[in-house]
């Protein structure tokens, strides 16, 4: 499978994943669940994609005044 990589020059190229070392991690807390997919080449991260699943938005209370 071809993976988009940036070797540090800001140019996005493609490399076969067999040449890269994958690393997957997941972080979860009360507000988000985040999955990170990394591929390294010679110990350097050349691909990093992140998927953040927001668990909750922002609540606003509308208050009715009184006489």
């Amino acid at each position: 499978m071809l993976i988009n990589v940036d070797l540090g020059d800001g140019v996005i190229r493609q490399m076969d994943d067999s040449e890269l070392t994958p690393n997957h991690s997941t972080i979860e807390n009360d507000s988000e669940r985040t999955q990170v997919t990394e591929f390294q080449l010679d110990g350097k991260v050349v691909h990093r994609s992140v998927h953040v699943h927001l668990k909750q938005g922002i609540g606003i209370e509308a208050v009715l005044g009184s006489f």
Binding site: V5, D6, V50, L54, G57, A62
Partner: protein
């Protein structure tokens, strides 16, 4: 029976629909007065070092991320689900994930601002998440469930 005072639940979603105009405001035309078109909502990313928050009244390029594949101003939000009411809470959530594809964002970022690009880039809200960088990859923000306790905007 007894009367009780309350804001109409329907009003809370109708505010987000622009149904009520309680004062004068300068608007960009929505084509029709009686059946106005939906505004375009955009999402811009901000560096972890920025100070973007609820005091921002409009989109700003100050503190916005930059990098390969990222266009200043961010991306258009898919908005196919109109604001509605869940119980007594007005709710709205974009109808699809917000996706930044094939980008390299080397400086850490931790916030996204939703803003109304049709109406002078008026700010809607800033949402934060764990600090991230992206390398030749995709950054995806998946939306919460569109209900009274999780929706991206809850007007209770």
């Amino acid at each position: 029976m007894a009367n009780s005072q309350a804001l109409a639940s329907s009003f809370k979603s109708e505010v987000m629909l622009g149904k009520h105009q309680l004062g004068t405001v300068t608007l960009t035309s929505r084509t029709s007065l009686t059946a106005p078109t939906t505004d375009t909502i955009k999402a811009a990313l901000y560096l972890a070092s920025a100070t973007t928050n609820g005091s921002n009244t409009a989109y700003t390029a100050t503190g916005e991320v930059s990098g390969t594949g990222y266009t200043a101003g961010g991306v258009t939000v898919t908005n196919a689900t109109a604001p509605s009411t869940s119980g007594t809470t007005g709710i709205w959530t974009p109808s699809a994930s917000i996706v930044y594809s094939s980008v390299t964002l080397s400086t850490a970022f931790d916030a996204v601002m939703l803003y109304n690009s049709t109406q002078g880039n008026a700010a809607i809200g800033v949402y934060t998440f764990g600090s991230q960088t992206i390398t030749a990859g995709t950054f995806t923000l998946t939306m919460p469930t569109n209900d009274a306790t999780h929706a991206l905007i809850q007007l209770a």
